[in-house]
Every structure is written in structure tokens, then in C-alpha cells.
């Protein structure tokens, strides 16, 4: 019981405002924190996602409102802002998906070498950003 009851040392030497902006994370660290950020973003925007599903599925009439959301907007929110939010959601989904598959692959194959951690993290970041750019260009009507 001594191990459990002994007071654990606390390290409080990181100041969020002073140290975090200059902290140089490795690629795997970026994937990790962005996995959390993208998950939190989708959690917060869940009602908006379900609204999109609702509007797109319920009727021809609501489908028109769904389409219009990307053009004239929703209420006082302009269409370009709706597109930006959807673009953020596209990135969040892609990053969360690819980083999640990376997690599952590592768990299943015990691929825990330093090299694989770095290379797979770089692949995750590049792939998610490239696909976001591709779908974002489509969303904003660039092709």
C-alpha cells in the first residue's frame, strides 16, 4: 500500500500561454493532439451535423433548404461561413478517421517502433490535409 499512498510528485513547470506556443511537437505529437481537437470539434458541432442529415433526408422541400445553406446561408449565417464550417468538419472527419486507422493498425500489429510512429504520423497529416484541400476545392466550386 505504500506505493499507492505515497504522495506522487507533481510537475507544474509548463505554462500554457508561455511554453505551449513554442513547444516543438514531433509529427506523432501533432497527430495526437489534432486527433483530440478534431474529435472535440465534431462533438461540439454534432447538432449542426444532424441538422444537415435531417434537412438532406426529410423531404424534397427540406433538401432545398439543405442546398440553400451552402448558397444563401442559414438565417443570418452566410453561405460562405457554412462552407467554412463544413470544410472544418471535413478535415476533422478525415484526420480523425486516418489517425484512428493508424491507431487500430498499431494496436493490431504492435507496430510501436519510433520510425513507424514518425512515418505513419507524416502520412496521416499529409493525407488528411491533401484530401481536405481536394474536397474543399470541390466545396467552394473550384472544379
Amino acid at each position: 500500500m505504500t506505493e499507492l499512498t505515497r504522495k506522487r510528485p507533481e510537475f507544474r513547470n509548463i505554462n500554457a500561454l508561455r511554453d505551449l506556443p513554442t513547444y516543438r511537437l514531433p509529427a506523432a505529437g501533432w497527430v495526437s493532439i489534432l486527433h483530440r481537437v478534431s474529435g472535440a470539434l465534431m462533438f461540439v458541432l454534432l447538432p449542426f451535423i444532424i441538422w444537415l442529415l435531417d434537412a438532406s433526408l426529410t423531404s424534397e422541400y427540406s433538401f432545398a433548404a439543405f442546398t440553400a445553406a451552402f448558397g444563401v446561408g442559414i438565417g443570418f449565417v452566410p453561405g460562405w461561413f457554412v462552407k467554412l464550417v463544413v470544410l472544418a468538419l471535413i478535415w476533422a472527419y478525415l484526420h480523425h478517421f486516418i489517425a484512428g486507422v493508424r491507431h487500430l493498425y498499431m494496436d493490431a500489429t504492435h507496430s510501436v517502433s519510433k520510425e513507424f510512429g514518425k512515418s505513419s504520423a507524416v502520412v496521416t497529416l499529409v493525407l488528411s490535409l491533401a484530401l481536405t484541400a481536394l474536397l474543399g476545392a470541390k466545396l467552394f466550386g473550384l472544379y
Binding site: M1, L4, T5, R6, K7, R36, G39, A40, M42, F43, L46, P47, I50, L53, D54, S56, L57, T58, S59, E60, F63, F97, G100, V101, H103, L104, D107
Partner: protein, 121 residues
Amino acid sequence: MSVNYGSKRTVVGASYGFRDWLSQRITAGLMAVFTIVLLAQVLLISGPIGYEQWAGIFASQWMKFITFAVIVALTWHVWVGVRDIWMDYVKPVAVRLLLQVLTIVWLVGCAGWAVQVLWRL
């Protein structure tokens, strides 16, 4: 040296986490498969996708069946993930409990709405 076992056990709001770890991965796998199934159906549609084509995907009973399972899986998955965030960053037990309760309310409400959308079709 304070006692932190028995009735004085430290409240951490969690068990040892294996069940959460495993369920998060299983629900993730289910959602990944669903993503591919949905994407395949969207890509198989030839020509522009209007209301008929899009709603048609969710009209079949088997699609409703797996979509419902995915809504449940998503809710469970998000619960594990968001609770992890609260446990990492929010230390006061009362605030953490409040946030966890609000998270459950948020998720149950959203899940109900999503299920309603599905079965109204």
C-alpha cells in the same frame, strides 16, 4: 499520509479503462466500415445526386439497420473520448461531474434526434 482506499477511495470518475479502450476501438471499426459502405453507394450513383438518390440510400431497411447501430456506436465512442478530455484537463470533481452529465445529456439528445431523422424517412 492520507488514506485513499476503502470509503476514502480517490474519486476519479473512471474504472481502469480496458472496457472503454476496447469499446472505443470496436465502435471505431464499425463506423469506419459504415463510412466505406456509404461512400461506395454514393460513388456508385451515376449522374448528379439529388434528393431521390440521396434519400434512396437510407430508404432500405438494411441501411436503416446499420445506420441505427452506427448512431449507437458513435454515441458510445464520443462518450469515451469526451470523458477522456474532461478527465485530463478538469480536476475539480464537482466541475468534472457536471461536464460529464452535460455531455451525456448532449449525446443522448443528439442520438434521439438522429434516430428520429432515420425513421421518419
